[in-house]
């Protein structure tokens, strides 16, 4: 049964580590894990190197002007988005896993959809719909005969509040997805025991289920918040001056890449501290599941007004995060349906798919390696490495892209120089300007997405199983493939899906590091957006949504199937 072991005398990880020396397969796994972590760390290190260069009066200027207010703005944005994603994500996850009401099966996957649309596109559509010139205010003016904006009050969408609203309803699926997976994996036993002890639905939720899901919720929440931090597109539309803005202005207009890198590293340090504090607060807790028996989860049958409320609570996020903005995109796209058959669009779909699938699988593979290395060699070094390697997500995308550029170019030029000196023939740039550079970039950016998921999944597997497997003569590699991976399959699928969708949407690194004459769906959308012709990007934007949707639906279906299968087999 699931348990939170608070006793400080029990160190699960110490129990995993065999008393004897590590085996050969342990060492190989660790070496590969370290190598992978080092690879993903390179761009951040490159930024640190840039950041230690002198920057003159950059900081005096920033401190004296925008920095204090942009710190507050960024803090408020994160608080607001954090609150919305928590309430919506956890609430809907609980409803669809624990309650029965009409439409539940539909919401189970529909709640994921907002994830498939790039945030800046949703932001753009909301500004179109809700600002002074949009249809809503236009209709109000026509209806009441208002002449100018001074005649009436309407909430300003281009504001911090607007940004919180939109980003909250676009990013909540991160929390929904991780929390839902955690609720599904929570052994029914814990909940049954609680119910036997007389806990009502509310107590069950707040006292048992929520604390048990905490690591998963934190993973989802930190992804949503890091996405907030690295976003530049959406905040531009809303005119919300976050830290990211300062990073960008410092680089582009004040020609100080070093100053920008310093700011970005400062933001990173704050994220790192927050994550560390959260972990420290629950350092003595363990969240393992000690049984592989998945009994049917207890469920509450909702009827009447309660069912109505549940439907409303699940429908609202989907409406706000997807249906409304998508309706505008469909309107734009319907005027240019001929583009659907454009061979260039087809090529972009192909490029996006090949890159995203490859990068998603590789990213998850590296996430598994890193997490497993942390498990078999539980010491501060491996922990730190795993942690640091996956916070690149919080760096503004364009700045990280420059960070990625540097180790790639250095590697290519090193190989070229080596080849020239040994064979007399240069190799040119091998990685840069090829798909490999993009896959590397995606891995660096989205390792956080996969790693958090996988770490949560491994955390649920009790170390007793490792020990049993090792006792039965399995080495660490076979234990991984025969014990861990099958046990956490639903979470692996979630991780692949999240990484895939994020790769499909990825823009800043794709656009800077891509080969010649190379477009993905995201860059095609951007080509239109960048010349202030957003409507022309509607077709590729919708294709991103469709391609992102397919795996979301598949995932929801397959995880439902796998649980159903287990339930019927056992119960």
């Amino acid at each position: 049964m699931s348990s939170i072991v608070s006793s400080p005398t029990f160190d699960a990880a110490a129990a995993v580590r065999p008393v004897s020396a590590m085996t050969r397969s342990d060492r190989v796994l660790l070496a590969i894990g370290f190598l992978m972590a080092a690879l993903t760390l390179m761009p951040i290190l490159a930024l640190v190197v840039i950041a230690v260069q002198p920057t003159g009066e950059v900081w005096t200027h920033l401190l004296g002007t925008v920095l204090p207010s942009s710190l507050v703005t960024t803090g408020l944005l994160m608080l607001g988005v954090g609150a919305i994603t928590l309430i919506v994500g956890v609430g809907t996850a609980w409803l669809v896993t624990m309650c029965r009401f009409p439409g539940r099966a539909l919401f189970d996957w529909a709640l994921l959809i907002p994830l498939a649309v790039p945030t800046y596109i949703i932001a753009y559509t909301y500004v179109e719909i809700l600002d002074y010139t949009g249809p809503v205010q236009g209709a109000l003016r026509a209806l009441f005969g208002f002449k100018t904006s001074r005649d009436y009050w309407f909430p300003e969408i281009r504001s911090l509040g607007g940004a919180i609203f939109v980003m909250g309803f676009v990013l909540y699926p991160y929390v929904y997805l991780t929390t839902r997976a955690s609720f599904l994996l929570q052994s029914a036993c814990a909940l049954d025991v609680s119910r036997t002890l007389g806990a009502g639905p509310m107590r069950l939720f707040f006292v048992v289920a929520l604390p048990l899901a905490r690591p998963a919720i934190v993973v989802g929440l930190s992804l949503a918040l890091m996405e907030c931090l690295n976003d530049i597109g959406a905040v531009t539309f809303f005119g919300v001056n976050t830290m990211t803005f300062s990073v960008y202005d410092t680089w582009i207009h004040r020609s100080s890449l070093a100053g920008a890198a310093q700011l970005a590293c400062g933001m990173l340090a704050i994220v790192f501290l927050l994550l560390w504090a959260e972990r420290y607060a629950r350092r003595k807790q363990r969240f393992h599941i000690t049984t592989s028996r998945y009994l049917a989860l207890p469920s509450y049958q909702l009827t009447g007004p309660r069912a109505g409320l549940a439907i409303l609570a699940c429908a609202l996020p989907v409406l706000l995060g997807f249906v409304l903005p998508a309706a505008l995109l469909v309107d734009y796209a319907s005027r240019r349906l001929d583009e659907l058959f454009d061979p260039a669009l087809m090529a972009a779909v192909g490029n996006s798919l090949v890159l995203s699938i490859t990068a998603a699988l590789l990213t998850v593979a590296i996430g598994i390696l890193l997490t497993y290395a942390q498990r078999i060699q539980h010491n501060p070094a491996t922990q730190l490495f795993g942690r640091v390697a996956s916070i690149g997500y919080a760096i503004p995308g364009t700045v990280l892209a420059v960070g990625i550029l540097i180790p790639l170019a250095a590697f290519d030029n090193f190989i070229d120089g080596f080849s020239r000196s040994v064979f007399g023939v240069g190799t040119g740039l091998l990685m840069l300007g090829s798909g490999a550079a993009l896959i590397y970039a995606y891995m660096v950016r989205f390792l956080a997405v996969a790693h958090g998921q996988i770490e949560g999944g491994f955390g649920k597997v009790t170390p007793h199983l490792d020990m049993a497997a090792r006792t039965l003569g399995r080495n660490s590699v076979r234990t991984l493939f025969e014990v861990h991976l099958p046990l956490i399959r639903p979470i692996l699928l979630t991780a692949v899906l999240l990484a895939f969708v994020d790769c499909m949407k990825e823009l800043p690194a794709t656009i800077l590091l891509r080969p010649f004459n190379f477009e993905t769906l995201a860059t095609t959308v951007y080509n239109a957006a960048s010349r202030e012709a957003f409507a022309e990007g509607a077709v590729p934007a919708l294709v991103i949504v469709l391609v992102g949707l397919a795996p979301a639906v598949l995932l929801a279906w397959s995880s439902a199937q796998s649980f159903r299968g287990r339930k019927s087999a056992r119960g």
């Binding site: 002007t65 002074y132 005119g239 803005f245 020609s255 490029n351 490859t358 800077l512 010649f516 004459n517």
Partner: protein, 350 residues
């Protein structure tokens, strides 16, 4: 326990990786020219097609909004980039400062492009100009002339719309104000304009015209060619209505002239195809290319003798500010700092 996942999957991954790597190999063959462009593909593609047709030289393009100069710098001696195309004098001059350019000396270019649009040492070459003008409501703005200085006047209180003060187009204009009036006066002016804003700076240049159309404000700052883009937008015919609701006022025509910025090109320091790159640059300065810039993009050609398009001429006579472009480049940093200092992007409330 369910199925076992087999390690052979990593083999598949490796195969997929190599397929992707092979899918897009760097374009280094001869008879080609490699272009890193900060300008959108649709804007330059007609020119490149014409170039290929005339010379048989194939063009390869990477478009990005930021970081291309850093990419060339990181790629170093092996960089495949031959030329970099960009808007904004700041970017052109920045490339020279980064040391990623090489001087172009071509009699053709020197004959086509007046000296004020070229770097004295030939590190960058201007190809077109665009003016930052005032779009004014036909209904609510009577006057037919305006100055930038006037935008800080109280009579515009709550009537001005603009995009972010930190956008390159805004920075270019503010830098020219610093060059003409000094930092202190410009700071006062910026604070005055900020107080006159109708809303927080956001959106793009077209969105400001749309706001005038809807009645949110009466005047806005914008680049000239957007007028042409809106007037001819068949897919979004509502943009024609936006354009119809405004007239263009060319600021300061009676004195120093209207602020203009350039788009231009540099040759990369380690260009693998310098001969082809030179041909491309010479082509871009030719009559044929300059006409495409004028007719398709509604920009002002820099080659004397090539006329602006009829549509562009219909917006009114332009008298460009003769301030040397280098002055604008030098004052960008100050301008950007002043925007922060007065809290321009926080909008009118502060």
């Amino acid at each position: 326990m369910t199925k076992t996942i087999r390690p052979t999957r990593s083999g598949l991954l490796a195969a997929a990786l190599f397929t992707t790597a092979a899918m897009a190999t760097p374009a280094l063959a001869d008879g080609e020219v490699n272009i890193y462009s900060y300008r959108q593909p649709v804007l330059i593609q007609p020119l490149l097609d014409a170039f290929t047709k005339e010379t048989g030289i194939k063009t390869n393009v990477i478009f990005a909004s930021d970081g291309l100069a850093e990419r060339i710098q990181a790629e170093g001696a092996n960089s495949p980039a031959d030329v970099m195309m960009t808007v904004d004098i700041g970017r052109l001059d920045g490339a020279k400062q980064l040391g990623i350019t090489q001087p172009v000396s071509s009699e053709v270019v020197n004959a086509n492009i007046p000296a004020e649009f070229r770097d004295p040492e030939g590190h960058w070459i201007g190809l077109t100009t665009r003016a930052r003008v005032v779009y004014a409501s036909k209904d609510r703005v009577e006057q037919d002339s305006i100055t930038y200085e006037e935008l800080a006047d109280e009579k515009w209180r709550g009537r001005i719309c603009t995009r972010s003060g930190q956008h390159v187009y805004s920075i270019g204009l503010f830098a020219s104000m610093v060059a003409h009036h000094g930092a202190e006066k410009t700071e006062e002016w910026l604070a005055g304009v900020r107080d006159n804003l109708a809303s927080k700076p956001s959106g793009n240049d077209r969105a400001q015209v749309k706001a005038i159309f809807a009645g949110e404000c009466d005047i806005s700052l914008g680049n000239t060619y957007y007028m042409g883009k809106m007037q001819t937008n068949e897919k979004e015919p509502e943009q024609k209505d936006w354009a119809n609701s405004v007239k263009i006022l060319f600021p300061n025509t009676e004195e120093r002239g209207t602020h203009v910025n350039i788009s231009g090109v540099v040759m990369a320091k380690n260009a693998p195809h310098p001969a082809e790159a030179l041909k491309l640059i010479e082509f871009l300065s030719s009559d044929a290319a300059q006409q495409v810039y004028a007719e398709a993009n509604y920009e002002y050609p820099v080659k004397p003798g090539v006329a602006a398009s009829e549509r562009v001429k219909s917006w009114g006579e332009i008298k460009p500010d003769s301030l040397p472009l280098a002055e604008i480049a030098n004052n960008r940093k100050t301008a950007s700092e002043l925007v922060d200092k007065v809290g321009f992007n926080d909008g009118p409330s502060s």
